[in-house]
Symmetry: C2
């Protein structure tokens, strides 16, 4: 087959095409978002059966046609087809479990409920999937001499900076993280610090950091790794392909994803659409974008039937990574909702905390964002939007090991806006066998 | 082929055989450890090539011959061959990345250095591997009516209780955790609490908790899940089989494992020995048992040429999970050392912290125990025990996301006994582009 290629183009359709190794982040004509366009004709010369067989064969303990086993690079022709082997920076991301949540399904009246465990990964969040692509492409551009920057940079207070710093360190490329001074705990910074990133704490808010990092990128001093960069979506879309693959190349009926900046919702659409267009699955699932009620601009737009998102001031939520009032990828997510017959649902602090507590008691260990996703799935089921017979996948976006304070707060009954009805506390007893016997379960 | 079977027998060779579903933890004759014996003749009727092909085929997005993809249950005939599908309690454990630590290898003068990422898993530690077997066998025994207990129980302050609570919750089986009151932070308890385990905090020390849980087990009130239970070794030994599989069915030259209670060292031997005996690999790797210098009874015995371990009082170490002065599985580990031409090495607090900091700067994110393993590998290389040309695998036993305090302590220069030479701290700056430019990397 002809070697597949890909390039940047304007998401809204303005003219122009740019190589993936070029440092370009917005359409020069309309200043809108970019997307990655693949040479579908070249990809279509390989049959659906051949793609399925190839992707299945690469899900393997020993990598074939890829430098190391990876959920992202096992789909390399669909992701970033022109990155040479020796430029790939991988931690073995992806290939996470599709956990059949049988007890929780029964409790929720859903026949089949799966949790896609994207947080069980190198840096503990789904951001690894996009960052392996971004850092590998930068690595390629730097080695080819087409890109000269002093660092890869992002404005971030959480998982994005952790993933960028880890992949940058693995590549030996310098990383700079900008964040608002005093608004982020050192605990949230420990991953980028440990990975040796240069962490600059600025006297401004998050938007101020974003303005400065964009200015540095515009001057060509840094390469911009924030989520407007469409390379990250190319990696994240492999979640959709993996879900279909893990279901034996079938789309589920529903996929529910907690989303703030909305890039991951757009990525799910990109992945499922490509799998359908190339014949690997026969349809798209329905999409539920799950938002925290305290940061719900997409939900508001959806309820009003609007096609554009009006920014809101996001309030504090335990689901801190989706506390976003003005989502960068809103236009992308609107297109996804439309194509996937999607809905937007929201979960209050009480609902997300209850969903986590219920899930944890069935053996899951849900981060607050996953709680938002699970709560929204349960609400849609209770309202009959999701039918009893449907197969539902909730995407878990981060490891709950990053959210010990949230778990403790719940079980110590200290979370704001939350009544901890499922709290579990230690029972203090004397060290006496007979007393302990009396406190065993019946 | 005849259906493979397995049973408990005395590790020292006393007469007797008991089914895996029986609640028996010590040899009734000598009170020593038990082990699981497999019907090697039945297993040997399948050729090495067939086993390799079968294990490779099961490393797959869609489970074949197993209820769901799992590193442990994909080797089910070698692990617990008589557990029916519907009794298996799995979270998709195992199949973790064998990360090629290229930058760290170069810095350490080792040609090939891999980190087996056992912490990138459901509950964040390698304990999942053993616990899926133990809870599945209990589930089988309970369903068959051969076991009636009020709970599965362990005395534990950390990863064991987290894994037991998660798998118990997934099975719908009650779990009890005993721990010394006031000696464990609530943060360490949050996983078992979230999973709904009954956590009993007793007015005694860890040994006192252990005595009580053993008494409860002796009375038949609880099933004992602590590491003297050899079912856990059967699950953990799949780490060895996976490492060989990920290297294309070759044993590495060295495998380095941080170890306190020494069950995991014994498990590595069990796995590699079985793979060699059945022809899947042609030799055993050499073993390095890596201990914290503050809790090093095995190291002391090794240096003195003793074949028995004399208990020590373990001092505080950042590698808290291997802070064990009187290791339960010492006899098992001694046999492993002998058979694998093994060595014991130790790492001080400074050495383990430095190893973590170096590793993190190359993209890894190492927990303190993994730091012990990495430090010992580097020391053996520096002394020439490990040759430059050798292929070394260090087993990472837990997710560093569980050790935020350790990472913070290092980078804030607050760890006892440690000089934080690689500390990285945020740089506070005004929100001014030109100032930020001056602080970019060169």
């Amino acid at each position: 087959m002809p070697k597949p290629t890909a390039h940047f183009r304007c998401f809204r359709g303005c003219a122009g095409a740019w190589p993936l190794t070029q440092a370009i982040y917005r359409c020069p004509t309309c200043d809108g978002l970019l997307e990655v366009a693949h040479d579908r004709a070249a990809l279509a010369q390989t049959s659906a059966d051949e793609w399925r067989a190839r992707f299945d064969a690469r899900w393997s303990p020993t990598a074939r046609e890829i430098p190391m086993p990876s959920g992202v690079w096992s789909k390399r022709e669909w992701v970033a087809p022109e990155v040479p082997d020796d430029c790939i920076v991988s931690t073995g991301e992806g290939m996470t479990a599709l956990y059949p949540a049988k007890l929780l399904a029964k409790q929720s009246g859903i026949r089949e409920l799966y949790v896609k465990q994207c947080g069980t990964t190198h840096t503990g969040s789904f951001k690894d999937l996009g960052m392996t692509v971004l850092v590998s492409v930068v690595n390629q551009a730097v080695r080819q001499g087409s890109l000269k920057v002093r660092a890869i940079a992002c404005a971030s207070t959480g998982d994005t900076s952790a993933a960028l710093a880890a992949y940058g360190a693995a590549a030996g490329l310098p990383v700079v993280v900008l964040l608002p001074r005093g608004m982020v705990s050192v605990g949230q910074l420990v991953q980028p610090l440990a990975h040796g990133a240069r962490v600059l704490a600025l006297d401004t808010d998050f938007d101020g950091c974003m303005r400065i990092v964009r200015e540095l990128a515009a001057r060509g001093l840094v390469y911009l790794a924030n989520s407007m960069n469409p390379l990250r979506i190319e990696g994240q879309k492999t979640v959709a392909i993996e879900i279909a693959q893990q279901l034996g190349w079938q789309a589920p009926d529903w996929v529910v994803i907690p989303s703030g900046n909305l890039g991951n919702a757009a990525a799910l659409y990109a992945g499922f659409a490509m799998a359908r267009d190339l014949g690997l699955v026969d349809r798209l699932p329905r999409l539920c974008v799950a938002q925290a009620a305290n940061a719900d601009p997409m939900y508001r737009a959806f309820m009003k039937g609007q096609t554009e998102v009006t920014p809101v001031v996001a309030k504090a939520t335990q689901a801190s990574a989706i506390r976003i009032g003005n989502p960068v990828s809103a236009p992308r997510a609107m297109a996804a909702l439309k194509a996937m017959n999607g809905v937007v649902e929201e979960a209050t602090e009480q609902e997300l905390a209850d969903a986590c507590a219920k899930a944890d008691r069935t053996g899951l260990y849900a981060c607050p964002h996953t709680g938002v996703g699970l709560a929204c799935a349960m609400k849609l089921r209770a309202r009959g939007v999701i039918a009893e017979s449907e197969r539902v996948v909730v995407v878990s976006t981060a490891s709950a090991l990053k959210f010990t304070e949230f778990k403790l707060g719940y079980h110590e009954k200290k979370l704001p806006e939350v009544d901890s009805t499922l709290a579990n506390e230690p029972i203090a007893l004397p060290a006496d066998v007979e007393t302990v016997v009396q406190h065993l379960p019946p």
